[in-house]
Symmetry: C2
Subunit: 453 residues, 2 copies
């Protein structure tokens, strides 16, 4: 039986980054990655396969960096793990021995079994598999009426992409008052909904799908709770993901309430030499201090780097501090981003907070031809002024501006520090130095604290 | 004689932000701003008056925010300050008494008196005055042959703008090996020069102007040190700025070697109740720990916020920690930015450092239509891994990405922390989570430290 120092199950972002980082730190150790597919997809790039990318192959992501670093790769599925004897066996009947095992099996789409007709032909999911998405793309190409159920990031992005085809009728159904309600506070989510409604998408919020109606076992319509029937050649459900942890559970690993494998801050499970990382592993919220089920490739890679450096010994005394949850997206050329706790997250977690908001344009003077509106909101702990969250709506630079906020939250920067934060500004690239949005929002918070306390 | 609690001399970014912040913090105090011109200009927007902005009025910046906050404004020039008696008198013969005086007189262009012919008609400077720039714009509009002397930011940006007119011949002369050599390390500066050479600009580096040649007292050509003569209808010199501190010196305030008014970290001069802020005040380098003459509106506003909050009492225990120097620009649609110490700054200041570099694209997958190349370089203290500087070359988001680095430097973030920094990524907005440039550059630094130490 062949033995490896490290076996990694799964070849998504968490598995690849654990493998690359671990192998680079430990060139003398043998690493094997077992992955079910020979090619994968950039997870967050999947929606763009449906329009903006010319071809699905443009969104391919594989374990090449791991193999380049000296890791071995096996395309196979793990069937059984014997943790006591440190062995595992695969579908193809190969047995391996391992010293360390990393479970990076990711997540799978939640299936809306509570909706009648969920199992009809033509009801699809965003399964993060190359072949599946390739097929789905071919199906959407010939569909005229498409209904997307669930207005989270994936649902909104896929609907936005499909609605770019002039001849398709795209409907998006969200049961909450606004799409993206988990990630943005009410005013920002309302703004995002406005942007969605500016596209060709037919958006229904505050509406539940009560039934998916079929004919000859194939979907033909979707019924809403107000009785409305929407024609559908294809239905894409995107109601969330759940940890892919069946194998882990069968192997005796302990799961949390979200069915994620329980790990400590170094990604160690309760069993020696067994690690779990990424979507399949448990985590707490950086701000909320309690269980958090956010799944993001960027979070998974942050965990994977912590694990990769610390596989054999805690060499990098920097454990994973909990999920911050930094989101960004772009809808119809307007970017939305959030980091850390938004108002309702803070409220639900019993955290006192105060808010400051500022709006300007992202160039200066704002008369420059490509200037976009820019809105920033900071959520702050009123006692010490520490920034605990932020939201942005604006142009392309939103994607990097949110990361300045993300760093500020992670380093516990206060608004009192932020107001004299030295920044770089340029007419063609940012807001003006006299009213740099982040600083102005911090000033608003300070003024609000002064007023309130 | 009318008395004000606070008199501010100067209405540039430093004066305005000190006034707005101070007045908002102290609504009961009376504030007067004395400024020579009724309207000013966004300083960093000046180059764009020459092409991208339709009209100079689009780049106007005035003391409106200060007046809106309740401050009073006088268009006049201060002729004399009597510090002992706390009075001042103006050109128009008005006398005022003050409790606190803020000197925010900014900077003026250095005049190349060492070049023969510097005083010919048609030899111009980038004086930050509305009327002057308006006239200069009219002159460049009718000029065919334009020579810009000095390849710093202003020189490069003005040359880039003027070269956008198909019928103008624009020459840029820089005496160092590369333009922007003060702000970027050799490889990045070389890249910027490449971008400049891709435009219509006729660039000469490593060349000095030995004489500006005239005819009937008007410029007609420029002579280089290799004997080359370049035809010139107009010459724009941009060889730097110096603190505008004649009045301060005459009033008895102490200046440093750069002729800047000596202040402490709360912007207090050595004389009680007299403050100086912005380009006219002294500062030390945040990283170098010694005198620094960088002049930036963003730095000036950071100082002004510290001063505005602390005018009457040190209410915000956050003094100005020294100039970080965060620069950004865009040349021919490619952005360049730097923050903190670059390699030569560190070398000159005797600071040991190690470098990490990473290149990718700013979208993921990189096949997305608007993807730009993105290069990042981190300069790091090898002992504790603290980031002391960074450079970026890339797309528009460079302008915000440099600010994440700027915050990291200011908060003494180490590369060991940065590798598990939680970030937000999105296909249409940033690099991929698996190879986010800032994290990859940090990993490169760690690998280099391991190799070297």
């Amino acid at each position: 039986m062949k033995k490896y120092d490290v076996v990694i199950i799964g070849g998504g972002p968490a598995g690849i980054i654990t493998g690359v980082t671990g192998k680079k730190q430990n060139p003398g150790k043998s690493f094997l990655m077992i992955n079910e597919d020979d090619k994968g997809l950039v997870p967050c790039g999947i929606p763009y396969v449906f329009h903006d990318l010319k071809d699905i192959s443009q969104n391919a992501m594989g374990p090449k960096p791991f193999v380049d670093a000296g890791g071995e790769l096996l395309i196979d599925a793990v069937r059984k793990i014997d943790i006591k004897n440190k062995t595992l066996s695969t579908e193809r009947g190969i047995d391996f021995q391992f010293d360390k095992l990393v479970i990076a099996t990711g997540s799978v789409p939640a299936i809306p079994t509570f909706i009648k007709g969920y199992d009809l032909e033509g009801v699809e999911y965003i399964l993060k598999k190359y072949k599946y998405i390739e097929d789905l793309k071919n199906k959407t190409d010939i569909a005229e009426n498409i209904v997307v159920i669930g207005g989270g990031f994936i649902g909104v992005e896929i609907a936005e992409q499909l609605a770019k085809y002039p001849d398709k009728k795209v409907t998006l159904v969200e049961m909450e008052k606004y799409c993206l309600y988990k990630t943005f506070s009410t005013d920002v989510a309302a703004r995002a909904d406005g942007v969605i409604r500016d596209t060709k998408i037919n958006l229904f919020t505050n509406r539940k799908v009560t039934q998916i109606v079929g004919e000859n076992n194939h979907v033909k319509a979707v019924l809403l709770d107000d009785g409305k029937e929407i024609k559908a050649d294809i239905v894409i459900t995107s109601i969330g993901y759940k940890p892919n942890t069946g194998l882990a559970r069968e192997s005796g690993l302990e799961l949390d309430d979200n069915k994620a494998i329980i790990v400590d801050r170094y990604m160690r499970t309760k069993l020696k030499d067994i690690f779990a990382v990424g979507d399949c592993s448990s985590a707490i919220g950086f701000i909320t201090g309690r269980s958090n089920s956010v799944m993001l490739a960027s979070t998974a890679t942050a965990e994977a780097r912590v694990l990769g450096y610390n596989l054999f010994t805690i060499d990098l005394l920097r454990n994973f501090q909990g999920i911050l949850a930094v989101f960004s997206t772009e809808i119809n050329n307007i970017a939305f981003a959030s980091a850390g706790a938004i108002e309702k997250t803070a409220r639900d977690a019993g955290i006192s907070f105060i808010v400051g908001k500022f709006e300007d344009v992202d160039r200066h003077p704002g008369t420059l031809p490509d200037a976009s509106k820019l809105m920033i909101k900071l959520i702050v702990s009123p006692k010490n002024g520490a920034i605990i969250g932020g939201e942005i709506c604006g142009g392309k630079s939103t994607g990097e501006l949110i990361n300045t906020i993300a760093l500020a939250i992670q380093k516990r920067v206060t608004v009192y520090e932020l107001i004299s934060f030295q920044i770089g500004t340029h007419p063609l690239l940012t807001t003006a130095p006299t009213k740099y949005v982040l600083i102005k929002a911090a000033e608003m918070v300070i003024a609000n604290i002064k007023k309130t306390y």
